[in-house]
Amino acid sequence: MKKTDPDLLLFHAPLLRQGMTTPKAMRDVLYALAPATAASMWFFGLSAALILGACIAGAVMAEWLFASQEARGESLRDASGILTGLLLGLTLPPGLPLWMAFLGGFVGIALGKVIWGGLGHNLFNPALLGRAFLLATFPIAMTTWVPAVSDGGFFQVYAGNLALPFMQAPVDGVTAATPLGMMKFEQEVTPLTNLMFGKISGSLGETSGLLLLLGGVYLWLRRDLDWRIPASILLSVLIFSAILSLVDAVRFPSPLFSVFSGGLLLGAIYMATDPVTSPVTPRGAWIFGIGVGVLVMLIRVFGGLPEGVMYAILLMNAATPLIDRYTQPRVFGRGTDSK
C-alpha cells in the first residue's frame, strides 16, 4: 500500500507562543542602556568607550573560555555576557586603568556566573560581583574620580586608563569628588539639575538620571522588568531620606538628592531587576526592593563609604532564595492560606 499520509509530529500543546525569547529580553536591556552609554561617552569621551569595551571583552572572554565546545556559540549569542560587561563598565570610574576593567569583567563572569552553572543559576549579580572584586582589590583606583571632559574634547583619554598591569598608575592632575562624596565628607549639596542631566563627577553610567529613567520606561513597556523592584527601592529611599532630612536637613541629604545621586537609579533599574538574582514572586519583589532601599541609606548615612548601592543589592541577592520561599503567591481559591 502506498503511503500518502505525512509523518505527523506529536508536539504537545500549547503550540502557540508569545514572541518574547530570553535572548531578546537581554538585548532589550542593551537597547535600554544605549542612551546612558552614549551619555557616558559624551561626558567622559573616548575613555568611556575604552573602559566599556575592556569590560565587555573581559566578560565575553570568560564566557568563551569556560563554555563547553558545543555551548560556546550559544552562551555568546544570548547576549547575557555582553550585558554583564556593559553593566559593570557603567559602574566604574572613568579614570580606571583598562586592564583592571578587563579583569573585572572576566572575574564577574567567571566567579559571578560560570561557577554557579551559567545563565539562570547564579545567586549574585555578576556585574556587581565583578565590581566588588575590583573595589576590594584596587580600592584607590576604584575611588579616584575625575571630572567630566571639558576642554580636551572626545578624544582626550585620562592618563589613568593607560596604566600597565600591576604598575603604579600615573595620577591624573585633576580629581573631583562625586556628589555623594561631597555630601558625606564636605556637606556640600550638588544642584538637582546637574544630577539629572549628568554634569557631575561619578562612574560612567550614573551621571544622567533622566536617561537611566528613560531606559527603565522602555523596559517596563516591553514587560522586561518587574516594576515593583525599582518602585520599592526608590520609594523606600525617598521615605527613609525624607525622615532623615526632617531630623537634620544639613547633615542628611534631601530625598530627591538621595534618589538622583550615586548609582541608585542605575542599580535600581538595571541591576536589582536582574531576574535571575531577584525574587520571582510579586510580594518577594516588594520585600527585596525595600531591603535594597533601606540598606542603601544605612550604608550611605552610617557606613564608611559614600555609596552603598552595590553592597545593598549583593546582600539582598543573597536573601533572594529565602524571600522566594516565604512569599509564594496566594493560589486561586485558597483564601489567605499560601502554604
Partner: protein, 446 residues
Amino acid sequence: MKALRFLRRNFEHGVHPAHHKQQTADLPIQRVPFGKHYVMPLGQHIGVPAKAIVAAGERVQRGQLIAKPGGFVSTGLHSPVTGTVREVGDYRGVDGRFAPAIAIEADPFATQQVDASAAVDWQSLTLEEFIEAVQIAGIVGMGGAAFPAHVKLSVPDGIRIRHLLINGAECEPYLTTDHRLMVERPEALLEGAEIVRQKLGAEETVIGVEMNKPDAIEIIRNHIRPGDPVRVVPLKVKYPQGAEKMMIKSVFGKEVPAGLLPRDVEVNVNNVGTIVAIADYFLRGMPLIERVVTVAGPGVSYPANLIVPLGTPVRDVVKFCGGLKPGSREIIMGGPMMGRPIASLDVPILKGCSGVLVFTEEQTARRKEYPCISCGRCLEACPYFLNPSRLARLSKSRMFDEMRAYHVFDCVECGCCTFACPSNIPIVQLIRTAKDDLARRKEPDA
C-alpha cells in the same frame, strides 16, 4: 478599583494569544456527507467506559443505543449511522493506545434519518429521570473535557444552584464551533438552557461570551423574550476565559475554593454545545451522535465548520476540507492551547473533539530551550496564581513530592505558563509528568 474590575468582567492573569478565528468565524456550519466506516470508542468521556450491547453482524439504526453506561460516571453511546456492526474490538485512540470500540459499516442506501418521535416530554420527568435520560443520551461536556453532563447536573442534597452559567467564551484560538452554534441556533441554545434551568431550579441563566463574538451576543440577545430570566454577559477576550472557574470569577466575581466545584458557589456551568445537545435530545429525539467541529489551521486547504457524525475518521473530515496542504506537520484535536496531537489520520472524531487543527512547520519548529532566568512571566500568566517556574525546576530535578507543597494538583494545564515562557521551557509538560507520576504512585495503596 473594585467597581472598575467588575465592569471589566475579568479574572486576573491569563494570556493573550492571537485568536486566529477569522479563517472560519463567518463560515456557516455544513454537514459532512456520510462515509463508510465509523469507529465509536467505548471510553470517549471521562470516567468508566460504556458497555457494548451490540455484537458483530447486528444491524443498527442511526441514533440507536449501542452501549449502555458502565457506571455512574459513564454515559450511553448511540450509533452515528444506520448500518451493520462490523466488530467490537480494539482500535487505536487519540492517545495512541488501543482501546475497545464498536466499528460500524454504514449502509449506503439508508436515509440516515433520526426518529423524531423518540423525543421525551422533559416536563413530565422527575429530576432523577431527567438526569438518567441525559446519561442515556450520552451527553458530555462538549468543550473538550468530555465530562459526563448528567454528573454535573446531579446536585447533592443541601446544595442549591442559583445560576446556570452557559460557557460561550470559546477562548481557544482557531475554534469557532460554539460561535457558530450561538449564531445559527440561538433558539436551540435558549430552549436547552430553559430545560436545564428549570430542572435545576436555578433563578437565572447567564450566557458568557467573549467580546470578539459581537454577532453571537447580539443574536442571542434578540432571541431572548422579554421577561425571560436570561442575560448575556460579554467577557474580556483573554485565555483561559472559558475555564469554568475563571468564568465564574469574571461573571460573578467569586472564587471557587480549591478542591471544590462550581456548585459550591451555587453555579452550574455548561458549554454551549452541551446545552444545544440537551435541547436536541429532549425536543427532537436526537441523542449525541454528531457534533460541530472546526477544521482550520494553516495546513487545511478549505477551513470549515462541520457537523460530523461521531466516529468519523479524521481522514474523511480532512478530505472533505480539500485535504492537507503540503508541509502539514501536526494535527491537533481540540484547540492549540490544550488540544492533543494525533499520530494517525484514522483516529475517529469523538464527543469532546471541538476542532481538527492542522499546523505546519512554522508552529512546530523546534524551539531552542534556554535556562530559566526567573523572569516571572509564568507567574504573571498563571490564572491559578501558581509558581510555574518553581514547579518546572522541581519537576526537572524529579522532586515530585515537593511539588505538592506548591499546589501542583491545582494546575488545570491550561498552558498559559508555557505560552508565556521566553526560555521555551515546556513547563506544562513538566507539570503533567509530575502529576502523572504522583497519581500513579498512589495506585498500589488503593
